[in-house]
């Protein structure tokens, strides 16, 4: 190992292995830990009292539960799609951002996975959607989008965690070798699966990594589409559109990319990894975010165009979403997820930490409002005016959402503390290539 490569490994590996981590990390962890407690509280209250503690009603049987579910899935999908493409294309950028893109995806899946269970009227019976050999021989309804969703999210969780884990194996071995305590050695050792760094190991690893990455590609489309089907397959006028899966995939990708950008910029700044996540990397990420925002914008236009061609009831429903009680959601979404990202046309903005944070958050917020607008605003003008009502979230619902944000942040913080956030082996590999050329 050259001295330069040694330095890389040191910088990156030192982070999880050092005993001290600075007060900012502690403060951040405490803050997110408090939100995790809030999450626990809201989960317990909804389990004991029922989903009536939320603002849901008839006809708005779904509120924040599905909004946040769809939103987290969007983050997970966008991030893992991004990671998989990098792995497959052996793109330079992968060394810098792959690891935490995978991490972001995995943690987002965890956050998303909370909602489908907790939103049930009787959550303790969630396993009934699973086709297990029940004595009363009732099977799930395979025509139901919720059954599809069950399969999609469980597959998604498995594949995303595999992608993240397979990528981690060589670095876990490094951490094992460098661990300063015996317990650390043991722990990292178990998860390193006896990695010895032989050529055979490397060959198998590359094959497995790329295989999982290939699996991610169709899965992402399937997952986002399945979420979209939950709406598109129903008879609700504004939801019942074939363009819905495309809308979810595209906006979800923009959202996932923006969160990767946000986390990359934050890590670069917070952990001083500027050398490994360099300006070029961030610049490229910014271009991708901009491109995906443009695709989203195109789909927004498409929505209006298809509404113009639609029959009166769906047309009225879509226009009500744009101009009615919930129009604010729609326009907020446009501003945040489409207009603000246009900043990234500027090279300076693409390379600026502040702009990266701003745009990253902005798209996340925008897509969240988009989901809100679809799920709530789209349901408002249904077929029978007599049942038209409004929905507003309650504190327990908001608390649940904040709680998942806290959980996500806490997982990320623990991740940067205990695992290498930038792939050490890939960085070394890159630098070897540079040195040999």
């Amino acid at each position: 190992m050259s001295s330069e490569a040694q330095a890389v490994t040191n910088t990156v590996a030192d982070v999880p292995l050092s005993r001290r981590f600075g007060w900012i990390w502690w403060v951040a962890l405490l803050a997110s830990g408090a939100l995790v407690l809030l999450l626990g509280y809201t989960l317990i209250s909804v389990a004991i009292l029922g989903v009536g503690v939320w603002g849901v009603n008839i006809p708005f049987v779904w509120g924040f539960d599905l909004i946040n579910y769809a939103w987290w899935i969007g983050i997970a999908n966008g991030a893992s799609l991004f990671a998989a493409i990098l792995v497959l294309r052996r793109h330079d950028l992968r060394t810098a951002v792959n690891r935490f893109a995978e991490g972001v995806a995995f943690f987002a899946v965890i956050c998303a996975g909370i909602f489908p269970i907790v939103h049930l009227g009787r959550p303790w019976l969630f396993y009934w959607v699973f086709p297990y050999p029940a004595t009363f021989q009732v099977w799930p309804q395979f025509r139901s989008t919720l059954t599809w969703d069950f399969w999609a999210i469980s597959t998604h969780a498995i594949v995303t965690s595999l992608l993240w884990y397979v990528g981690l194996i060589p670095d876990l071995a490094t951490l094992r070798d460098r661990a300063r305590t015996r317990a650390g050695k043991r722990l990292y050792g178990v998860f390193a699966l006896g990695w010895r760094g032989s050529v055979r190991d490397w060959a198998y690893h590359q094959r497995a990594y790329r295989l999982v990455a290939i699996l991610v590609l169709p899965l992402i489309l399937i997952m986002q589409s399945t979420v979209a089907f939950e709406f598109a397959v129903t008879l609700v006028p504004d939801w019942h559109e074939t363009r819905q899966p495309l809308h979810f995939v595209a906006t979800g990708l923009a959202q996932g990319l923006s969160i990767v950008l946000l986390v990359a910029v934050l890590l670069r700044w917070g952990l001083r990894l500027g050398r490994y996540i360099d300006d070029e990397d961030v610049d490229l990420l910014g271009r991708l975010v901009l491109a995906s925002a443009l695709v989203s914008g195109y789909l927004y236009l498409d929505e209006i165009a298809s509404a113009l061609l639609a029959e009166p009831v769906p047309q009225e429903a879509t226009f009500n979403r744009i101009t009615g009680d919930y129009a604010g959601l729609y326009w907020t979404s446009i501003v945040y997820s489409i207009l603000i990202p246009q900043l990234l046309w500027l090279k300076a903005a693409r390379r600026s930490t502040v702009a990266g944070i701003f745009v990253g958050i902005s798209i996340g917020v925008g897509v969240w409002f988009d989901r809100f607008s679809i799920i709530v605003g789209g349901l408002q003008t249904d077929y029978l005016p007599s049942v038209w009502r409004t929905y507003a979230p309650t504190l327990p619902e908001t608390g649940l959402f904040l709680g998942t944000l806290g959980l996500f942040a806490a997982l990320l913080l623990l991740f940067v503390r205990f695992l290498p956030v930038v792939s050490m082996f890939e960085t070394r590999h890159d630098e070897h290539e540079e040195a040999s050329s």
Binding site: G52, I58, G121, W128, T145, E230
Partner: protein
């Protein structure tokens, strides 16, 4: 004599102190040691018993033998010959089978008039009330109040202990206290005794009142009801020289003009009139009748009317006068004629004796008089209207509340007995009845609740619920229906009959009191007629005969000139949900969306859209309504079709002591009701600058130009829906295929179906907060839409139960198959399988599914478990529920048919909503049977499916409403 349990509390045997207590054994050893067991062991195992020393093996044999035989001994009680069944049989009434409901025919009063009902009892407890088809005021239908009486019966707030100055006393103390007072009164011949009671139609009460008068010749009876018919009485006296009741016959009417009031909701015979009017509409051999409603606020009759004339009350008299003049009676009009008068007059003139003018209760006597004059001029008396002796006739010498007030003020009242009602709450605002009653040396209140009146009386006696006691009631046409208990008394109490009987020196036996009345009337053959009357619920042939009228119209009589001075007219109306406040503690009624406003849990001042614009008000803004110097703060509700320049205040809310449900709900309109003008007063409204939330179940009132409620001309048919292809194969329904047809032309929006469904299916009451969030649980809702000009709109009602779609969108989206199709085409909900994803509701275009967002069956609003229908599952939290087409009734009818080995007959299965409907708007049956009533309706040219273009193939379908063209025809 029936014994009151609490009166005999000392005589109740206490099991533990009796000599021969129950033969319980406390341990196996004790059991094995009993003499009969020992005898059996001796006979069976002599060697064991005789053995002096016991080894281990013997001990075990002995023990096992003891236990085995001891067990047998436990089965055969002392002295049993072994033939008695092992398990005791449940106590049953003769002729009843456990599990099979028994039906009791009885009568319930609304404002003193009887409506015949059949009470379904399950193992001795009433669970459901249906109309009595033999009773003329019901014809098998019910109104919301009759349906809700079940919940009132089980009301946990019902009074069950006599009170003395607010603290409980025993029944013995009560009788001991009353006896000397009564003796004293007998001696003084009732000097200073005043009795206040609501008007009653009961012959037994009238008999007892007469008896009491003989005993207490100086006593005075006063009659008071907040829903008072004084205007009608005054008009009858002025027009015909005597008090009369008027019975209408809409089946014979070609043209009906209502002047205020509500023919279909507030008249004593409202159920019958609604049924008759619809029967008249269905007569194919005659042209459609026309209904014109001239009114201030929109009534059910006005909503159904072919033409409505919104008119502020102060213009009503001129209108009626002009109508009379146009028809050739009365003096020349003094004011300019309303543009609708000639049209109505023309229609009435052409109808001749088949015309009918119906004045509303709240209209001044002069309008009633003008209506009589017009009816007489048309020759309607004898055709569409007849006069009968007043059904609630009180003997001469009966005073009013005002008489009582002056008597108390004069210090002439020493003993006041209030028999039912709640006059302290319901008295007009200028009568401070509470402090007046406090001035009476001794007052007694008989009432079902410890209400506002009980609070100020010295003694309070719990009143028995009508379903627990004996009595008799006369219907709007005089027909007598007997009231018999449908249950053992759930709480100790006395009926009005019993207390009045006690005063008159009779025994405490309600049944004997009622029997005595009819024994006297019938003489011989009493037993037979009594049994028959109990069985039928009505006394055949007891309807009042028509009174021949000696006309004495006094149309020239000068009345107060219509006040054209400033201010706005304030109209008081009984509330469609809680009436005069009597039903304030009834959760079903509180949560019942009012027909026209869809408001629940409260009342609101109803104003016209035009007036709202003038005052800058929107629904929910608070206003101060001031009448004669007194003010009440109320939220407003903009009611399309309300006449401008007037505000309508529904009575019955703002109760202080109604109970846990009804306390502090809404505003108290009695607080501004003047005794001089109890129905229509003049006042002011002023914006209060705050908002009082008004909870309504329907937020949007227009059809949005959508094809939801179809309206056709009499011979026209809506465009037929094209058959659309489906991805799913057709399912062959062999055997039955259940379906429903709802005739929108018949629906008057009275809500009877909604509350019948609630009672039948154990539907939870969720309370105002939950309804405000949009979580009411009614399986059947009545959508109300307005179309056209908000000042004078068309109003449509559309009952929406589950459509039981053949291609049900809810079924395919449930991940766990919790909602599935039955072989007879029902869309079944499997509560146990539901995990609560709520996807089914998302995919239901009709939004008829209801979700248990919280544990609604565990709240304070929920009925006592005894009021639950045992045939219907009570749903848990987290579970979706919806209309089942009363699947338990289908099952019961099918079981009956199988037992009798015959096919199910058409009409044998009636859903709860169908059964309650006064106009037979809802018809249920087998659509596979081409001869069934529902199949025939579905062949009607007016037939259409709601949202039929979604191709859900609903089994519940509608018949379009018929709109007559506005020209005379």
């Amino acid at each position: 004599m029936r014994e009151k349990p609490p009166l005999d509390i000392d005589a109740v045997p206490v099991p533990m102190t009796t000599e021969k207590g129950p033969t319980l054994w406390r341990s196996l050893e004790e059991l094995a040691d009993r003499p009969e067991v020992r005898r059996q062991i001796e006979a069976e195992f002599p060697d064991v018993v005789q053995a002096s020393s016991i080894d281990r093996r013997t001990l075990l044999r002995l023990m096992s033998a003891s236990f085995a035989l001891g067990g047998l001994a436990a089965c055969n009680g002392n002295g049993s010959d072994g033939k008695a069944p092992l398990l005791s049989q449940s106590r049953t009434l003769p002729g009843s089978t456990p599990g099979v409901p028994l039906t009791v025919a009885t009568s319930l009063a609304l404002n003193g008039f009887g409506r015949g009902v059949l009470v379904k009892t399950q193992e001795g407890r009433p669970v459901k009330i249906e109309g009595n088809p033999l009773h003329p005021a019901s014809l098998g239908a019910t109104d919301v109040f009759a349906q809700a009486e079940i919940l009132s019966l089980y009301d946990p707030d019902r009074s069950d202990t006599p009170l003395r100055s607010g603290s409980p006393m025993s029944w013995e103390e009560l009788t001991n206290s009353i006896r000397p007072v009564r003796n004293e009164l007998v001696v003084s011949e009732g000097r200073g005794l005043h009795v206040l009671m609501p008007p009653t139609s009961s012959p037994t009460l009238h008999r007892l009142m007469a008896q009491a008068r003989q005993l207490f010749p100086f006593a005075t009876f006063h009659v008071f009801s907040p829903v008072d018919d004084g205007n009608r009485r005054d008009a009858a006296l002025a027009s015909f020289g005597r008090d009369l009741d008027f019975v209408y016959d809409p089946t014979r009417a070609d043209v009906i003009v209502t002047l205020g009031g509500d023919l279909f909701a507030e008249e004593p015979g409202h159920l019958r009139y609604a049924a008759d009017y619809q029967a008249r509409r269905r007569m194919r051999d005659r042209a459609m009748p026309r209904l014109y409603a001239v009114e201030t606020r929109m009534s059910l009759a006005g909503a159904r009317a072919d033409e409505r004339v919104p008119l502020r009350p102060r213009d009503m008299e001129a209108f009626a006068q002009a109508l009379a003049v146009a028809l050739g009676t009365g003096a020349a009009p003094t004011t300019e004629v309303h543009p609708s008068v000639p049209k109505l007059a023309d229609a009435l003139r052409r109808a001749g004796s088949r015309g009918l003018v119906v004045p509303g209760r709240e209209q001044p006597a002069r309008i009633h008089g003008l209506a009589h004059a017009v009816n007489a001029g048309l020759g309607a008396f004898g055709t569409t209207v007849r006069a009968i002796e007043p059904v609630r006739s009180a003997d001469d010498g009966t005073g009013t509340l005002a008489d009582l007030v002056s008597a108390i003020e004069a210090g002439a009242v020493s003993r006041l007995v209030i028999l039912g009602g709640n006059p302290v709450y319901a008295a007009p605002a200028d009568i401070d009845l509470a402090s007046l009653i406090r001035r009476v040396p001794l007052s007694l209140h008989l009432g079902q609740h410890r209400d506002e009146t009980a609070e100020v009386c010295h003694w309070h006696v719990p009143e028995a619920h009508p379903l627990e006691s004996w009595g008799d009631l006369r219907a709007f046409d005089g027909t007598v229906g007997l009231r018999q208990p449908a249950t053992m008394p759930l709480k100790p109490g006395l009926s009005v009959e019993e207390l009045l009987g006690l005063m008159a020196g009779q025994n405490l036996d309600g049944q004997a009191l009622v029997q005595a009345t009819w024994r006297q009337a019938w003489g011989d053959g009493f037993e037979e007629r009594w049994a028959g009357a109990l069985e039928d619920g009505v006394i055949a042939g007891s309807a009042s005969p028509t009174v021949a009228l000696t006309e004495r119209f006094d149309m020239t009589a000068e009345t107060a000139a219509p006040s054209t001075s400033g201010g706005i007219d304030v109209v008081f109306v009984p509330d469609p949900s809680v009436w005069d406040g009597t039903y304030a503690n009834n959760g079903w009624l509180q949560e019942l969306p009012k027909p026209l406003t869809k408001q629940v849990w409260g009342n609101a001042a109803l104003i016209a859209p035009e007036m709202a614009a003038v005052f800058g008000l929107s629904s929910g803004d608070a206003v101060d309504v001031t009448v004669e110097g007194r003010a009440v703060r109320a939220p407003v509700w903009i009611m399309p079709g309300h006449a401008p320049g007037a505000v309508t205040l529904p009575l019955g809310y703002g109760r202080r002591r109604a109970g846990r449900i009804g306390d502090g709900i809404g505003f108290d309109a009695y607080a501004v009701r003047p005794s001089g003008r109890p129905w229509i007063a003049t006042g002011e409204i002023g914006k209060a600058g705050e908002r009082i939330p008004v909870v309504s179940t329907q937020r949007h009132h227009s059809l949005q130009g959508r094809d939801i409620v179809r309206v056709v001309a009499p011979d026209q048919a809506p465009a037929p829906a094209a058959d659309q292809p489906s991805l799913y194969p057709e399912w062959p329904y062999e055997g039955h295929a259940w379906g429903m047809a709802i005739d929108l032309d018949a629906c008057i929006g009275c809500n009877a179906c909604v509350i019948a469904c609630q009672a039948e299916n154990n539907i939870a009451v969720v309370g105002p907060d939950e309804v405000a969030k949009g979580r009411e649980m009614h399986w059947l809702r009545v959508d109300r839409y307005h179309a056209g000009d908000p000042a004078d709109p068309e109003t449509y009602f559309q009952p929406v139960p589950c459509m039981h779609c053949e291609k049900a969108p809810c079924e395919v989206v449930c991940p766990v198959n919790a909602t599935v199709h039955s072989s007879e085409g029902l869309n079944d909900m499997v509560y146990n399988r539901c995990i609560g994803t709520r996807t089914c509701s998302n995919n239901c275009p009709y939004k008829v599914r209801r979700f248990n967002f919280l544990d609604y069956q565990g709240t304070d609003y929920v009925a006592s478990p005894e009021a639950m229908n045992p045939q219907v599952t009570v749903r848990d939290r987290g579970v979706m529920e919806k209309c089942t087409y009363c699947v338990h009734r289908i099952g019961a009818a099918r079981a009956d048919a199988r037992v009798e080995d015959r096919p199910l007959r058409d009409g044998e299965v009636a859903t709860a909503c169908q059964q309650a409907c006064p106009t037979t708007a809802i018809v249920f049956g087998d659509v596979n049977d081409p001869a069934s009533a529902v199949s025939r309706l579905k062949q009607s040219p007016r037939h259409y499916a709601l949202l039929g273009d979604l191709n859900t193939k609903p089994r519940t379908t509608y018949l379009a409403r018929i709109a007559l063209s506005s020209e005379n025809g």
